[in-house]
Amino acid sequence: MNENISRLMDGEVEDVEFERCVAELKSAEAMRTWMCYHVIGDHLRGGYGMSPKFSLSLSQALAAEPTVLAPPPRRVTQPATFAWAVAATLAAVTVVGWTAFSMIEVPPTAVARARDAASVRAAQVKPTGDVPAEYLLAHQEYSPAFAIQGGGPYLRAATATAAPDAAPSAEPRQ
């Protein structure tokens, strides 16, 4: 039985075996083995330990939750919209309070218009905002950090040119 648990957690089971393996997991002892095997893997990867209270507290909380019943999910191959369906259940909006890091409107000319000033201001010591997109985009291909971090520096561009908040939409694919 434990060998099945080992295979199941690695995803190395055929579809037909899946149901049986999960059914075997219902016993308390099997659940302990499932957790134990995962603890091993997590620690090999530099795991973070949760206290014993955590499992107990969470399982009690889960037990108190009304059982969720959802219609069979439609397997969508191409999402029509990129929806954040969970936003409905999350209380605060992710955008509120984080406007400082993400709210420059695309395209760059809109940025320029928004920040229009008739006169030249004196040199600032403190930064007044994000690096304007037109310079960032032209510069970044020369930046060594760009080369070394793979996709990392693109995050700067995405942060700087993120579009304004709008109504939440569906999930992404990955």
């Binding site: 080992s6 995962h38 949760m50 206290s51 014993p52 889960l62 397997r75 969970v86 999930e171 992404p172």
Partner: protein
Amino acid sequence: MGDREVDQQLVERAQRGDKHAFELLVLKYQRKLGRLLSRLVRDPAEVEDVAQEAFIKAYRALPSFRGDSAFYTWLYRIAINTAKNYLVAMGRRAPTSTSFDNEDAEGFEDAEQLRDSATPEDELIGKQIAATVNRAMDALPEDLRTAITLREIEGLSYEEIAVVMNCPIGTVRSRIFRAREAIAAELRPQLGTDENRRW
């Protein structure tokens, strides 16, 4: 079947009312989630509060999970948003702040050991677990240790490990299982069956 397909199947079972399937996913991801959250929320007790809230929110939001993304991507997203909302609610990390942490302050550090937990006893247990896993790993025969390392750390599939180790897939499956059992034999007494643990 694939690790991701297993998650997907478990999620679908949970969506059909099987809470136990969701618990399997919780057991699988709780530590990974804890480590992710510990980057944002320093106090381990708070990490667990946020983690619990995130899992409950994920459970409630299950009807809206359509399988377009991996379950853990979806779960991580919920967890991070929960953490950020928590920080904002606690009045921390004012978004307009441009202050930088000193280099000595913890950045995205990986703690080798369990951080200081709520009680000294918890910390001790955490360190003991890490020590036990390491010790048991060192005691394994080389082929078992290699197999479980390739699986858990390098993330190779059984098929890939079979190529690397030049042996049949059945042997890979057996070696990984025996490695886990050998370590589990040492670990189970520590994880215990006392009343403090559900499993």
